[in-house]
């Protein structure tokens, strides 16, 4: 075996293993929080004993076989949720794009940045379904209410991601535009937008994917779509109809994810990539 013990000419002292008090304290804190949550939560963990058999039973009720006669209803409910998500995303983009420019440092005065950022943060804190409850009395119980709630929610996230992307753009192109005597508008159009655009487009797609999932919940308060069909059928324990809905939702959502992945790839890399079956 190789003998490594022959020392080199002049070995400096070996360093001691450093310890970080702050890091250890943080880990201790996080572990304590987790232990406390497990210890204090009102959950009968023994219920987990029946879980596997119960789960199998319900999977059987839902999927063996699903209620194929409900396919049409499940499909139109899912499509309605997708439509809500689309309108919500489009309105969200239209409102958030100018606002995120105004919220970016360097593109608008600080007095404009700060309140906008606060508004984005507040919106992000409130779940879409609560926003829907808030605007319900103004818009009535229609899918449009759901779309508006998703639009408001989208403004919160798209606004934030937008100004982060705009502020993250390399200083180089910005300086170049400024040095040619360009206005702030020229700076946005030629110094910021070209670099940030691919990211911003992919945020839009990502938010659409989120909205497709979030729209399901809005049916619970009467906005229609997946949530409504879910509620109607769970109430009367029509599990085979829920199973049908589950299958349609999974198929449509996966289809949308694949499509949006392909579009994102086209926008970022400049060419279409045929998505593999199980990417």
């Amino acid at each position: 075996m190789t003998e490594l013990k022959t020392q080199p000419r002049l070995a400096p002292a070996r360093p001691k293993k450093p310890t970080s008090m702050l890091r250890n304290a943080l880990w201790l804190f996080v572990s304590l929080v987790i232990v406390a949550a497990f210890w204090s939560v009102k959950i009968k963990w023994s219920a987990l004993g029946d879980f596997p058999t119960q789960l199998l039973k319900y999977i059987g009720l839902m999927l063996v076989p699903p209620d194929w006669s409900k396919f049409g209803e499940a499909f139109s409910a899912t499509i309605l949720s997708v439509q809500m998500a689309w309108i919500g995303t489009v309105l969200g983009i239209v409102v958030s794009l100018p606002l995120s420019f105004l919220a970016s440092r360097g593109l608008a005065p600080r007095v404009v940045n700060a309140p906008l950022r606060l508004i984005f943060a507040v919106i992000r804190a409130v779940p879409e379904v609560v926003i829907a409850i808030l605007i319900l009395s103004v818009t009535g119980l229609t899918p449009f209410t759901g779309a508006l709630a998703l639009a408001v929610g989208s403004v919160g996230t798209l606004g934030k991601w937008g100004y982060e992307a705009f502020e993250g753009v390399d200083a180089g192109p910005k300086e170049a535009v400024r040095s040619t005597g360009g206005s702030t508008l020229a700076l946005i159009r030629w110094g910021v937008w070209p670099s940030a655009a691919p990211d911003v487009f992919s945020f839009w797609l990502y938010r659409f994917e989120i909205n497709v999932r979030a729209s399901a919940i809005l049916g619970l308060i009467g906005a229609g779509g997946i949530g409504k069909m879910l509620q109607d059928n769970v109430q009367f324990r029509n599990w085979d109809a829920v199973g049908m809905l589950l299958i349609v939702v999974i198929a449509v959502t996966m289809g949308i994810d694949q499509l949006s992945g392909a579009v994102r790839n086209r926008l970022i890399h400049g060419y279409w990539r045929i998505p593999k079956a199980a990417r």
Binding site: A37, Q54, L134, T139, I217, V234
Partner: protein, 275 residues
């Protein structure tokens, strides 16, 4: 790569000025994209019954509700606390369990760290299915399976978390430089050991920040899944909403807002320290 045709056919030369290239045209592509997007928007708009007039008509009776909403009933706060605490407990447990399950799954779901194409494809398919189901659907089904309460909520959130974390972390792994992994394999390590030693340290910061991000999402989600009986604030929201008690609803929203904003600032501070 940007101008697809120019890249393949070579640069075309302008007839008037030989030596200058002709401006590549993709007007048709952009035009087609705009038409498609507009058509989808019109179709979706009809589907969701966009109705601006209704907003005008409802404005007067709605203004009363909005005024009520601006006056939270602070006396209701003691009743919010237990639900708020339960929401927090659910979010913490679901984040802890969900992230622990996600880490090995993320390594199985990344092209960079899983050398077996069959296993890779199977993992990705299952994860795509898990991620496609909305959290509220999980919650509704799990309430039936394990009964009303926090347990069904926690399990729904765990599934929701695994879907998100595995996707984001496996993408981080895909984008990671595999050099150290190659070195570990060249030193005789098996794939699991090489992944642990060479890839895990590389993605730990992004894993940590995904975990904190999903924790924030969990707080928001756990307020909502209660609407189908899965514990937390949702049950309370459902009660006060059905009886149009807007002062109390307003108090609940205010509490959620305060909780999320506080946790978001704590988590972003943590993120800076951990990363």
């Amino acid at each position: 790569m940007s101008a697809g045709t120019a890249g393949k056919t070579g640069i075309q030369v302008s007839p008037a000025h030989p030596g200058r290239p002709v401006k590549p045209r993709h007007g048709a592509q952009v035009g087609a994209a705009v038409v498609v997007l507009a058509a989808i928007t019109v179709w979706a708009g009809i589907g969701v019954q966009i109705n601006i007039a209704a907003i005008w008509e409802n404005w007067s009776n709605a203004s009363g509700n909005i005024i009520q909403l601006l006056q939270p009933d602070y006396g209701f706060f003691p009743k919010v606390i237990p639900a708020l605490v339960e929401t927090l407990q659910m979010a913490v447990i679901a984040t802890a369990v969900g992230s622990a399950l996600s880490l090995p799954l993320a390594f199985l779901a990344s092209r960079a760290t899983n050398p077996r194409p069959g296993l890779l494809r199977a993992t990705r398919l299952v994860m795509n299915i898990v991620r496609a189901v909305p959290d509220i659907l999980y919650a509704a089904i799990l309430v039936a399976v394990v009964g009303v309460g926090a347990l069904s909520g926690v399990m729904a959130l765990i599934l929701f978390n695994v879907g998100i974390i595995v996707k984001l972390v496996s993408e981080a792994l895909d984008g990671e430089d595999p050099g150290a992994l190659e070195a570990a394999l060249a030193a005789g390590a098996s794939w699991p050991k090489a992944n642990r030693a060479a890839m895990l340290p590389q993605i730990l910061p992004s894993f940590a920040s995904q975990v904190l991000y999903t924790f924030e999402l969990n707080i928001r989600a756990s307020t909502v899944i209660g609407l189908v009986g899965a514990g937390g604030l949702g049950i309370l929201i459902d009660n006060v909403r059905s009886f149009f008690r807007y002062h109390e609803l307003s108090m609940i929203i205010l509490s959620i807002l305060a909780l999320v904003l506080v946790l978001e600032s704590v988590s972003s501070a943590l993120r800076r320290k951990l990363v």
